[in-house]
Symmetry: none
Amino acid sequence: MTEQTAPVSLEEFNHRLAEISEAMPKRLRQCAEFVAQNTDRIAVSTVAELSAGAGVQPSAFMRFCQLLGFSGFSEMQKMFRETYAQKWPDYATRLENLRASGADSPSALLAEFVEAGRLSLENLASSIDAGLLEEAVNVLAAAPMIHIVGFRRAFPVASYLSYAFEKMDIPAVLHDGVGKLNPRHAIRKGDVMIAITFAPYSQETIDLAAYARGLGNPVVAITDTMTSPLRRIDALTLAVSEVDVGAFRALSATLSLAISLAVAIGAKRDQAVQ
Amino acid sequence: MTEQTAPVSLEEFNHRLAEISEAMPKRLRQCAEFVAQNTDRIAVSTVAELSAGAGVQPSAFMRFCQLLGFSGFSEMQKMFRETYAQKWPDYATRLENLRASGADSPSALLAEFVEAGRLSLENLASSIDAGLLEEAVNVLAAAPMIHIVGFRRAFPVASYLSYAFEKMDIPAVLHDGVGKLNPRHAIRKGDVMIAITFAPYSQETIDLAAYARGLGNPVVAITDTMTSPLRRIDALTLAVSEVDVGAFRALSATLSLAISLAVAIGAKRDQAVQ
DNA sequence: CGATGAATGGAATTTTTATTCCATTTTCAT
DNA sequence: ATGAAAATGGAATAAAAATTCCATTCATCG
């Protein structure tokens, strides 16, 4: 009376999982959640390991397998082991495969961007000036209000920072240019600004940063080179260089820097409060 | 008196195998032969299966494992399973250590995020379904208009896509929720939507995607697991899992996927025009 | 052509892992 | 609140797999 369907492929499996995982009791949903996020481990793990990962008892995991239509864990694992061969190759091989799938196929492109991202991250880690970064964190952690500005390619970074600050209850405004309002009046003396811009530098960002600097406020710049125009206004400059793919440039390194900055500021503030 | 070396990586393993397989007795050479040709099965097979495949007795296979320097088959298999599995398990621990050792300086944090970003990119490369990706590109390249929706943590991704499409002169609208206008009327039959959301999934995104789907329009989802609610509305789901640092999660992999998608769409459209 | 030591096959044993069962707790409708 | 049904945890049991052991075979050398 248990089985209705027994998924025979990954797609079927995922489909079924999505289909029924809503209507599951707590523990079983935990299993679904964990499995969805760690599908690749099923083939090489034991019930004990997986159930521990999901934070449930082995017996619960067992029931989960049965709910999906398998007779038990072994049968489910068997399905994954059979489809395992393709997933096996390691990162390098896999990247090769993606590349090989046709010069300008989406997957080949993805492989390029992944590689570029990894290189950018490496660069970032080795080129960042720890002293400058720490100084920026200190200045920002002490700020009564943080203003964030960044347009065009820098806007995703700005909005991500804004999101992170909101999550951590750190007062921050994102100057997003909506409605072409003049945002300058929101900037008070003592506030700190994070200005983000890359070549070709957007004038609005530079202007706003210059204005803030004119008030004597500190400005932290996230930009692409040390010779960026933000340098001229004496901003605390954090330089990130992204490796590009053809004419395109991703944001992996920049965003990693941004999130680190945000979390470090959050940590610092918490310390200060205690 | 058994062990001399115990290989700890695939390279070491292959090396050792080549090194000693010359001087092996018949049955053990059969094992070596078979293993060299079916390395990928080791992680997911039993001694019985492998020995049968090699045409020898389980006990012979056992001796083969020991000759290679392992205590037995289990130890050898463990090596293969670990090589395969993604490396995040000890992440929480590492962060603990970081905190404990007082090394939660901004640069240490940055190092963590960089590492997490690199792992996420690796995972992305090895988990993406090339077929699905291509399908998504095809659907989007043919769209008269692309609608992009993503809030909160997904918003940077959405805005980045919007920027990329603008650069490439691809008609696209970013539904940014400004002014709480009801954006549904902008969606026409035949348009395609890119919906981006991560747990905890934002209702607005799901609703809008469901609405578009209700019109019969295709929806491409960028989300975190295969069990995401977007799956339910039968969206073309591209799953990306980001490795997180403590409670925080960057966007390296997601953005790389997004930019690849955008550029691939641009390329495809250019082709079509010519 | 034997004697000796390495190699082998297969069964016995041990260990690990999956699965079931049931007492207890939680949830929910009444 | 109260009882019925569903869900859960944990231990008991069954099954499967790994490992060892030893009698037998095979190759080698005097």
